[in-house]
Amino acid sequence: MTYNYIVSTGDSTISGSVSSILNKNNLSHSSQQYLSTKYSILDKNGNPKVNPFYFDESIITGSNCSLLSLNSQTLLEGGFSTTEGKNRIYYNIEDSGNYTIDIENSKGNIIFDSGLDLTSDDVLFYDKRINSSPFITGKTSTSIGSWNDVVTNLLYSIDAEDPTSDTSEMEQKYFLFFNGQKVVSFDYSTDLDDVTGIAFAIKKEDQVYEINGVADIYGSGFIEHHVDFYLNGMEEDVANLLQTYTGVYMIETGVNCSFTLVNQETENYIL
């Protein structure tokens, strides 16, 4: 299995860490808030789509500052345009995005692409990230070397805005996702040549480091609850991790260790 941890190191002081801390692994809530129905998106059948997931507007404050994982699959945020109908305004998600954010008109609602079927059983976590547009490229070819072309295209796109000399530097500065899975290595490879889809790269935040290949990590300090964990490229619920101090003993988990000792007393009654 491919283990991939992204941990926030924070600052050298607590105050400094708090001021730069990132909100990670927020579980979206589904409680329906008041929402104007004037803005909506059509589902694949042409009906107004129900988007049941909401985010905290104090965390996600605009476009291009969120990273969503739906059932462990990382989604790409796109921009949007609108088409005005008689009584409603309809979103159209652009840039090959899976979802879009419109703080002004849709408040804390996540507007998903028409093709995404959602149920109440779906699990959606969202992270806040620094504001930056993703770099996106499509992969339509399955020829040998086609994945290398994808990586190269992304490198060129990134380099045009953020001078980046090679894939090694790109790997230091960016996260790479392909069809919702996180790609750990940016090295040229033929493993993904026969797959088509969408690849995108987003900028890494400051004060994070990434560790690959081991199930358990220890040594350097990190801030609890500010860890992302990808298992085979799919984001895992951090409830599957213990984030603690190296000095503790690992013992069997799941056993309630609260107990009460009861002094048993016997009363004798004379019949």
Binding site: S15, A215, L241, V248, Y249
Partner: protein, 457 residues
């Protein structure tokens, strides 16, 4: 700095330090301040901080630093208090309650583990259990409670009640190397809290208790307990770590409130004095009438003089003495006479032939004829000689010449009004500010171990 930070937070939230019974930052000052005893009994101590309500109370004892002589312990105290923390693997610590009750107080405990494996142990231990015989019945009793940490690194609270011993483990909280926790006790419950200042979280466990089993007026032990499964002696060291700071408050306190006070313990207090900036502002205008200016007259100033000749030309001259000359008899020379004619002064001269003054003769006629007719002696005599200066003089008068210069000045005609702003100084004050920044090194408060508990196959 933690004392100042805590005091600031207390003043901010409580208005006074009345409820701060004790505070220890475990700073070693001197052996005199950290030793108590007399005769053949000396103990290491940690005095209560001056920021507490009554620093004469709650002097803490370093339980394992005792000796029959003062010199026997003075060397141990700096070791126990190295790096401004009390090493609980070196000595346990005991605080007399001095009027407080264990079932009605709050403590903030800033502790850290030593590097290496964490073993279970007591952080705060004041539990005492025993038996007493009342009316021939043996009755179990207790006082106090224990707060400790398990091998797994979880906080626990051990109490004794009507149903016997109970241990409640705070398994939802993973501890870091360094932690700030709070224990707040009331008559019917104990609240055990852990503070996560990174995520601004308070996680608490409320443990119901029976006050009749918790009440205690004696001491709080840190590092050991009189009733623990591994030891029944409060001098036995059970905790593998150290205390960085310890604060004890009278009465129960809410955990959120304690978290705020804890920021003071971990933080640095800062104060910026009021500043005054002086600015100017216009309060009005003074008006001044301005009159036109122009030529008010003329001034005639001398520009030179003009000489005008008023009489005919006249010769003038003068003589001045020159070097005497020697003349022999018969040699010609001039005899000079001056002539003063009013303003005109001149001279005239007569040419004579020299006769020596001792000759006693006067010769007539003079000149060539005399030479011819007289025999002259070859004697000489000095005569006075003169240098002649001659010239022409005319009568003149001098006339002054004048030029015309205009004089400028203020006329009586008004040309306008000048407004001059009137200003006054005023002060802008930036209010004094103070606060606490949690600038303590954060590394030990972070986690450093991720353990994956999912399926690894």
């Amino acid at each position: 700095m933690s004392a100042q930070g805590l005091l600031f937070k207390i003043q901010e939230n409580l208005g006074s330090n009345q409820r701060l019974s004790a505070f220890y930052d475990f700073t070693y000052s001197s052996s005199e301040d950290n030793v108590e005893g007399a005769g053949s009994s000396f103990t290491g101590i940690q005095k209560n901080s001056a920021i507490s309500n009554d620093s004469s109370l709650h002097t803490g004892f370093l339980l394992n630093i005792v000796s029959s002589s003062e010199s026997g312990i003075t060397g141990q105290i700096p070791t126990a208090l190295q790096n401004d923390k009390l090493d609980l693997t070196y000595t346990n610590f005991q605080v007399p309650l001095d009027g407080l009750n264990a079932n009605n107080l709050a403590t903030l405990i800033d502790f850290e583990f030593k590097d290496g494996d964490i073993d279970d142990g007591i952080i705060l231990g004041c539990l005492k259990t025993g038996e007493e015989t009342i009316q021939s019945f043996d009755i179990e009793n207790s006082e106090g409670f224990n707060i400790g940490v398990t091998d797994r690194g979880h906080l626990f609270c051990q109490t004794f009640g009507p149903n016997g011993d109970s241990i409640d483990v705070m398994y939802s909280v993973e501890l870091s190397k360094r932690n700030l926790i709070a224990v707040s006790t009331a008559e019917s419950f104990i609240t055990l809290s852990s503070f996560d200042y990174f995520n601004n979280l308070v996680r608490s466990l409320e443990i119901p208790v029976d006050q009749n089993y918790i009440s205690s007026n004696s001491v709080l032990n840190f590092g050991g307990s009189d009733s623990y499964f591994r030891s029944n002696n409060n001098t036995d060291k059970t905790f593998s770590g150290s205390l960085n700071n310890l604060a004890i408050f009278s009465g129960y306190m809410e955990e959120e409130f304690l978290k705020d006070l804890g920021e003071g313990i971990l933080g640095d207090y800062s104060y910026t004095a009021e500043t005054e900036t002086i600015e100017q502002r216009i309060t009005g205008y003074s008006e001044t009438i301005v009159y036109r200016t122009g030529i008010t007259g003329y001034d005639y100033v001398p520009t030179g003089t003009l000489e005008i000749i008023t009489a005919r030309e006249e010769f003038t001259g003068s003589i001045t003495s020159a070097s005497d000359e020697t003349k022999v008899e018969g040699e010609r020379y001039y005899k000079y006479y001056t002539l003063n004619n009013g303003d005109i002064q001149t001279f005239y001269k007569e040419e004579l032939g020299k006769l020596h003054s001792d000759s006693g003769y006067v010769y007539y006629p003079t000149g060539e004829d005399a030479y011819d007719t007289l025999g002259l002696n070859d004697v000489s005599e000095s005569i006075s000689a003169y240098t002649e200066t001659t010239g022409i003089i005319q009568g003149t008068i001098s006339i002054d010449l004048f030029g015309k210069t205009p004089l400028t000045g203020v006329l009586s005609e008004v040309s306008g009004v000048t407004q001059t702003p009137l200003e006054e100084s005023y002060s802008i004050y930036t209010l004094a500010s103070s606060g606490v920044s949690i600038s303590v090194d954060s590394e030990d408060f972070k986690k450093n171990f991720i353990y994956y508990i999912g399926d690894r196959s």
